[in-house]
Homo-oligomer: 288 residues x 2
């Protein structure tokens, strides 16, 4: 049961909710208490993220760290991110490292190696084609290891300009990428029937989701953009297979900043928002 897609889907099954909390800490939105208790900004971010992890553990099966929020603080930020990834793992939370790397050959292998000991899954960029993705799947190896979500259809408005271009054969560029992902992922299927190569499909692109689901039946969809970015429950349903499986939905700001405008304890507010989000998806998607 060490295949990355099996680990992920088992975690979803265990808590009964295909939910994921995005941990994208931005300094000027941190709770005052974290800033005051810390020696420096990065330490404040550390305290805050520890609180978020504790608040979601046992309630939400998966978390997704935005690497950029930590890399901005240089090597010390990377060190903190490592520590937080391990803390989440120890708390039983599956870890997605959202670092959107895209490079080729030995460089892609280096990036995969940099993630292997701290994350269950990573996000990767498909613009360089097969060469940019293979090393991440290879890193999953015969005994399990790393899974990778390739960016197929991103949730931002500007993504349309490239991803929605229509190719001569009638497919969009995103659909061509989907076909590439489906083909490449076919060799690394876990016992639950899903590949170690998944796909990022934004919650704000629900019109495209059904077609992408058809093209990628064995891919787990990572669905960002729920909540603050405008995607709702109806928007994400098309990302799931007919049995209610095969996708995980990420909310970030709507959960991790739930204390804003609230006078109570910030941890309680995050915990309540996490539970509410997890329940919403449990009811809405209805995996039995």
């Amino acid at each position: 049961m060490n295949h990355p897609s099996d680990r992920l889907l088992d975690a979803v099954e265990q808590l009964g909710t295909p939910s994921c909390v995005g941990i994208d800490p931005v300094l000027d939105r941190l709770p005052e208490a974290c800033i005051q208790a810390a020696a420096d900004p990065l330490a404040g971010i550390g305290l805050y993220c520890e609180g978020v992890i504790d608040a979601i553990a046992g309630r939400v099966p998966i978390c997704k760290f935005q690497s950029a929020c930590f890399e901005r603080y240089g090597s010390e930020g990377v060190r903190l991110l490592d520590r937080l990834c391990h803390r989440a793992s120890e708390a039983g939370v599956q870890v997605i490292l959202d670092f959107k790397r895209g490079d080729i050959g030995i460089s892609a292998s280096h990036y995969a190696a940099s993630a292997l000991d701290r994350a269950d899954w990573v996000t990767v960029n498909p613009y360089l084609g097969v060469d940019g993705i293979t090393p991440f799947i290879d890193a999953s190896g015969p005994g399990g290891g790393l899974g990778a979500f390739a960016l197929v259809r991103t949730s931002n408005p500007g993504g349309d300009e490239i991803q929605s271009l229509r190719v001569e054969d009638g497919r969009t560029v995103a659909e061509a990428v989907a076909d590439l992902v489906a083909r490449m992922g076919a060799d690394s299927i876990g016992v639950h029937g899903y590949s170690a190569l998944g796909a990022v499909v934004g919650a704000t692109k629900s019109a495209d989701a059904a077609r992408l689901r058809e093209r990628m039946p064995q891919q787990i969809f990572l669905v960002p953009g729920f909540g603050a970015q405008g995607g709702g429950l109806d928007d994400v349903l098309a990302c799931f297979n007919a049995d209610g499986r095969g996708a995980i939905v990420t909310a970030s700001r709507s959960v991790i900043y739930a204390y804003e405008g609230d006078t109570g304890d910030w941890r309680s507010a995050v915990e309540s928002a996490a539970v509410e989000f997890a329940d919403l998806l449990a009811r809405g998607v209805g995996t039995s």
Copy 2:
């Protein structure tokens, strides 16, 4: 003269050669002397890269660090990369941080911030569209700052699968990206007439280079794939504008591993190879 494209082109002008050495250190190809003199593998990489920087300073105007080679060693690798970037800058070598980031909004801003104090230019991935590129150009700010090379046509074989797809209007995906880059870069032109937003166009894709040059007259081309990857002088000429300006050509393995199979001092071998590469481009491109 603090615009990133002016800094880069002035450095090229000063040494009379549009050459760049890619520093992509891989442990098992390091000189025996570096391994033996160092306490651990990362320290060996540090010694080696310092030697490479010293060997090329004053001979080659630009270096390009492959971030993955350092990130694989976690936070300590990132710390070493920072130190090497500063060493190269202090030696008068322009620094390109090849990290191929691609994210949106605040995350892209974080990545730009992570590069601002250590690099002159970075590489970025365009698959997320305008939202993924703007923050890097904005980071260049009114007083200069960062330049960004967007991946347009990469040198790897697998890049064809997405980048060569033909869109309904007859353009390839790479050409559509080129138009996006040209449009976005038009607002940040330096006194030499080139934008803070440049383009990566592989030396192995010479058939496409002329068309891409036409679409992006104000972009500096970063041309990887020279030497070990198979691109030669004839292949890169189409990347330059008619006046012999507007592109820089990168060689990596053919320079930094020039000591392999040689019994002499490894630093001398790297230095000779760097000089030879710089001279080849100086003669071949013929900026007067």
